[in-house]
Symmetry: C2
Amino acid sequence: MTIRYPNGNAYQAPATSAGPKFASHYTNYGKRGMTLEEELNQSNTYYQTHGLAVVHKKPTPIRIVKVDYPKRSAAVIKEAYFSTASTTDYNGVYQGHYLDFDAKETKNQASFPLKNFHQHQIDHMRACTAQGGICFAIIKFVSRQETYLYPATDLFTFWDDQTNGGRKSIPYTEIAASGIKLIAQLQLPVPYLNAVDQLLKR
Amino acid sequence: MTIRYPNGNAYQAPATSAGPKFASHYTNYGKRGMTLEEELNQSNTYYQTHGLAVVHKKPTPIRIVKVDYPKRSAAVIKEAYFSTASTTDYNGVYQGHYLDFDAKETKNQASFPLKNFHQHQIDHMRACTAQGGICFAIIKFVSRQETYLYPATDLFTFWDDQTNGGRKSIPYTEIAASGIKLIAQLQLPVPYLNAVDQLLKR
């Protein structure tokens, strides 16, 4: 149906109308702008509200030096410093399984630099794996807009190799091959439980 | 053997010699003074270093308002507030099992006041239980110097009853009967894994 102005001229939608342009702009940049942490928070909330898993990000560890207790008000922390976590950032329970993982983004296209991990995180994942926990990394190649679940056992191999003269990064091709690609679903930007199911069958 | 002074008089240890008195003082007050949190940290460290379990206390959640970044120094948090956790304080993995618990002290002798728990902690433990996690409270009666592992499912019953006109606390006798008493061992102030083993057999 042709829409006409009061003067009889036919209305033609401009090639770049404000409405759709804004919507498309919003959608693209909205998705691009979400950090991996935000994507995981949203996914964890989805999993929890649907009774599928209970996984939380741990609070950032802080070393508190000075606290004020003003009268009739909440305590105010006046001096504190960020401290280093001794564990990974995420853990929880899924159908009786203990899950433990860390999430890392890289702007690199060709590989994931191992310096994104710290020794204590690797040690923690090794200890959890030894106890029968399911450990992995969620790695996002930001420029590719691709996210993978990468099993901790594969990560350990590359981690150990680097001290034996091995490379300081994991090739993208290796992560794409041994990892499990996480393709965003509606309300579920990082559907990692599907990948955990696959991991359990390996 | 009698020890003699150069003048030939026999040495007799004073009834209250400084050495043993200090040692005994230190031991007693050291044990009495340790908070349940400190006892659990020590126990968790013992379990981890012996490869028996990986359980950590989560950092206190903080809402950061203002951070300074002085040149050549670490970032300083200048204004922040304590916020409420949405989970319990402790979780981890033990022989493939997901463990989740909170630790509470009370000075009461006869009962444990339910107001020590918050709704969100109960909700969290219910969700974890539904996923097959092992959830419980570690309750210390400070004046009795007795600590119990109390199963979350029993706690849920009392929690729900209070809103139906039930009592606002759990009697000590109930906790002593349905809970599992945790008797301190060397280097292990709160040996809760033994109790978890018993819980798994129920």
